[in-house]
């Protein structure tokens, strides 16, 4: 185990560190013990970092600590070297339960992030651009209830991206989608996230689905224990676009499972 898990290489220079947590710990109000302690996490430029761990290790809470939607009990979050002290649209969260406002059309949902930050015409242009990026051209005027779960999650992603964030946090974004929709969106998400048409520099994904994690992530942090800590890290060194048919794909899954202390099931 490495206390400072991400090795410093020529590519991963300190000046490319986008989001970093130092000694992050969290205890719920009135709880007797910490949910997790001493989380040191780094997300470098153009990297997708995944966090995995059993239920109850506080992965979703950790994401909210990183976005400062829930302030950590102790520790620091740095965004491009500067401390984060309040929620900001520069660190944008996509929820597990897909959250769209039912009284707003797809376009209005996306424009919401821009209210008060630019004039309406410019906001409409930017929102339309993001809806194009997530593949929702032509359904701008549809209400959420007229859309599938996959389309709604695209609206939520577009709403996050249009706010010009540097970091996108995704809390099990595909868990409520059917497998076909999830697979399709999973295939597209990396292209969407690291598309030059948006401002993102890094993304962090929480997931229980190890196939998803190996499919998408550059680095994986494994959390376990009580209170939880980072017990292992992996660098996923597979070429993109990735396929489950690649021979090493299941090696990574087995290694992460071993880290989680879960016996892999034979196919």
């Amino acid at each position: 185990m490495d206390a400072n898990p991400i090795p410093s290489t020529a590519i991963e220079k300190e000046d490319k560190k986008i989001l970093q947590s130092i000694g992050l710990s969290y205890r719920f109000p009135n709880a007797s013990k910490f949910t997790f302690t001493d989380i040191n996490l780094k997300a470098y430029k153009d990297q997708l970092v995944a966090i995995v761990g059993p239920t109850g290790t506080g992965k979703s809470t950790l994401l909210r600590n990183l976005a400062y939607l829930i302030p950590p009990t102790s520790g620091t979050v740095l965004l491009e070297g500067k401390p984060v002290t309040k929620p900001s649209s520069r660190i944008s969260l996509v929820h597990q339960s897909i959250a769209t406002f039912p009284w707003m059309t797809a376009l209005e949902n996306v424009k919401l992030s821009l209210k008060g930050k630019m004039d309406n015409e410019q906001a409409t242009k930017n929102a339309q651009k993001m809806l194009d990026l997530v593949g929702l051209r032509g359904v701008e005027d549809n209400y959420p209830k007229e859309m599938s779960g996959g389309m709604r999650q695209r609206v939520a992603i577009a709403r996050s991206l249009v706010a010009s964030p540097s970091v996108l946090l995704m809390d099990e974004p595909f868990v409520h989608l059917d497998e076909l929709t999830a697979t399709k969106l999973r295939d597209e998400i990396y292209k969407i996230v690291f598309n030059p048409r948006n401002t993102l520099k890094a993304a962090i994904l929480v997931s229980h689905n190890l196939h998803e994690v190996v499919h998408l992530a550059d680095y994986v942090y494994v959390m376990n224990g009580s209170p939880a800590t980072v017990i292992d890290t992996f660098k996923i060194d597979l070429p993109r676009p990735r396929s489950e048919r690649t021979s090493n794909f299941y090696d990574y899954i087995d290694r992460i499972m071993k880290g989680l202390d879960v016996t892999p099931q034979k196919a």
Binding site: S92, L93, A99, F101, W103, L112, K115, G116, K145
Partner: protein
């Protein structure tokens, strides 16, 4: 002044209201059951309840006078009249709440009841009634507040030269005020305050317990009793409701002995028919009785009097317009307070823990009981500062105190019901207060806001009805509006012109029902179609 009389009068009033709430609940179970079993009955019952709910208690006063004071007569007639008015104040939201609860019993639970061939009695006892308890207990507070609000109207009223009164704290306070006995008023208010606090806290505990035990998917823990006596009562109740399928849904499938028991013990279905036709019969008797007295009243009025009523109708409509303006101002002020204070309470847990019981107690405390004290204290100042408008100020104050908390509590509950994900989106995207309000909070809480505003408007009518005509509010002082439909009803009643009061009440009822159908219902439909906050979270 005898303190024990004040205590007894408070007890009489509180027991009268609680007993009538109990009657409302029992009748509500029967009527709601009929509604879910008979579409014809439902189609008549729900619009009628909605219509009656929107008519302020004072609108029923002419019917009460005709049916009970003239019809039954004597002390029993006065007591029945008071009971009817309190019943009218407490019953509607309880009946609607029970109906909604019966309509929303989860399908799997109904299937369990079908599987075990439950008869009407077991369906009610083990399924419908337990499922309705959270809604009933949450409505108890507002029903009690409504019932208490009318004590100054229901327990004592004057028709012509005769004053009718029944024993209660409303009558006691009115007598003290007429005598100028302020100390008596203070003592009475102290007893009312104590009763309000005790009842409010009891209802609050009952509501939490009912939600914890009978609510579906609730996070509230079920609290268990510890003291010996309470344990005994609790165990007796548990034994009585041992087969409660709402709380024991899961164990049904595991416990074969109980399954056999439940299969063996089937209720005969004719009980349902007996209940159904008993209620129909009771309703028919009431309708015939009322129709008879309406007929007697109509025929007792000469043709020339009727034509005089008709000729005054345009002026009455104008007076009603003035009243609507008053109600609109009160409703707007209440909505403003609700949106600001309700939002503050919803986002500041510490403040809400501290302020909630205080606001609840202020809400339940009947404004007409302490309003004369506000009147006495402020009259010299207001009458000189606003010599022409001060009556309007008092009408506004009493109207506002009568109703502001409905929309406040509803909006507050609506804001609390906004999913945590929405709050995170607002904070994550650094949305300002007005953007949050306009685009998220007001739309999300819209259904609650409409429900609260509807109750607020109904209660505002009650407040202005009392404030527009209050002779001898304190000693020789009176509060009388220049113009207003509520004033005309009260003046005609006071002068013994029951037919005229009934005619004005009828016009009022028709307009209120049309308003309810056109305005309230269309807004509620909009809320149900577009502003359903639960649809904003997709967790397929």
């Amino acid at each position: 002044m005898d303190i024990s009389i004040i205590a007894l009068a408070t007890l009489a009033t509180v027991l009268r209201i609680l007993a009538l709430i109990a009657v409302s609940i029992v009748l509500g179970w029967g009527l709601a059951y009929l509604s879910i079993k008979s579409r014809t009955f439902e189609n008549a019952y729900i619009p009628l309840v909605n219509a009656f709910e929107s008519i302020p208690v004072i609108g029923f006063l002419p019917i009460v006078l005709v049916a009970f004071i003239s019809g039954v007569g004597g002390p029993l007639g006065v007591e029945l009249a008071a009971d009817f008015l309190v019943f009218d104040a407490v019953v509607w939201n309880i009946w609607i709440g029970i109906y909604q609860a019966f309509k929303t019993v989860p399908e799997p639970l109904l299937e369990v009841a079908d599987n075990y061939k439950f008869g009407i009695w077991r369906r009610l006892k083990d399924l419908y009634i337990p499922h309705s308890l959270p809604r009933i207990t949450s409505n108890l507070f507002s029903s009690f507040a409504d019932g208490l609000f009318y004590i100054s109207v229901s327990e004592i009223f004057t028709v012509g030269v005769k004053t009718y009164q029944t024993f209660g704290i409303g009558t006691t306070i009115a007598v003290f005020l007429q005598q100028g006995n302020l100390l008596g008023v203070y003592y009475s208010l102290a007893f009312v305050a104590a009763a309000v606090i005790i009842v409010t806290l009891t209802f609050s505990r009952l509501s939490k317990r009912a939600i914890a035990k009978y609510g579906l998917n609730t996070d509230l823990p079920i609290r268990r009793y510890h003291s010996t006596i309470r344990k005994y009562i609790y165990s007796t109740w548990r034994n009585m409701s041992r087969e409660n399928i709402v709380s024991r849904f899961g164990s049904r499938f595991r416990n074969k002995k109980r399954v056999r028991y439940s299969e063996r013990e089937q209720e005969p279905n004719y009980l349902g028919a007996v209940l159904k036709y008993s209620v129909y019969f009771l309703l028919a008797v009431i309708a015939v009785y009322l129709l008879f007295w309406v007929y007697a009243t109509v025929t007792s009025v000469s043709g020339s009097e009727w034509s005089s009523f008709f000729s005054e109708t345009p002026f009455l409509i104008y007076a009603m317009g003035v009243d609507y303006l008053r109600v609109a101002v009160i409703a707007l002020a209440s909505a403003f307070l609700a949106i600001t204070l309700g939002y503050y309470l919803a986002v500041h847990k510490k403040a809400s823990t501290m302020l909630t019981p205080i606001i609840q107690i202020i809400g339940a405390f009947p404004a007409p009981t302490y309003f004369p004290l506000i009147f006495i204290a402020t009259l010299p100042f207001l009458a000189s500062a606003l010599p022409f408008e001060y009556t309007e100020v008092y009408i506004f104050i009493l109207g506002f105190l009568s109703c502001f908390y409905y929309v406040l509590f509803d909006f507050w509950i609506g804001v609390q019901a906004i999913p945590s994900e929405f709050w995170e989106v607002m904070r994550n995207h650094e949305l300002g207060f007005f953007t949050r309000m306009r685009y998220i909070i007001l739309p999300a809480a819209f259904p609650y806001l409409i429900t609260g505003l509807s109750s607020t408007i109904n209660s505002a009518w009650a407040g202005i009805a009392i404030a527009e005509y209050w002779p001898n509010i304190y000693g020789t002082h009176s509060l009388i509006a220049n113009i207003g439909m509520m004033k005309f009803i009260s003046v005609n009643l006071a002068e013994g012109n029951i037919a005229a009061a009934a005619y004005i009440s009828l016009i009022f009822a028709v307009v209120v029902i049309i308003y309810g159908l056109l305005f309230t219902r269309s807004l509620m439909d909009l809320a149900r179609k577009k502003y359903v906050v639960e649809e904003g979270i997709y967790a397929g």
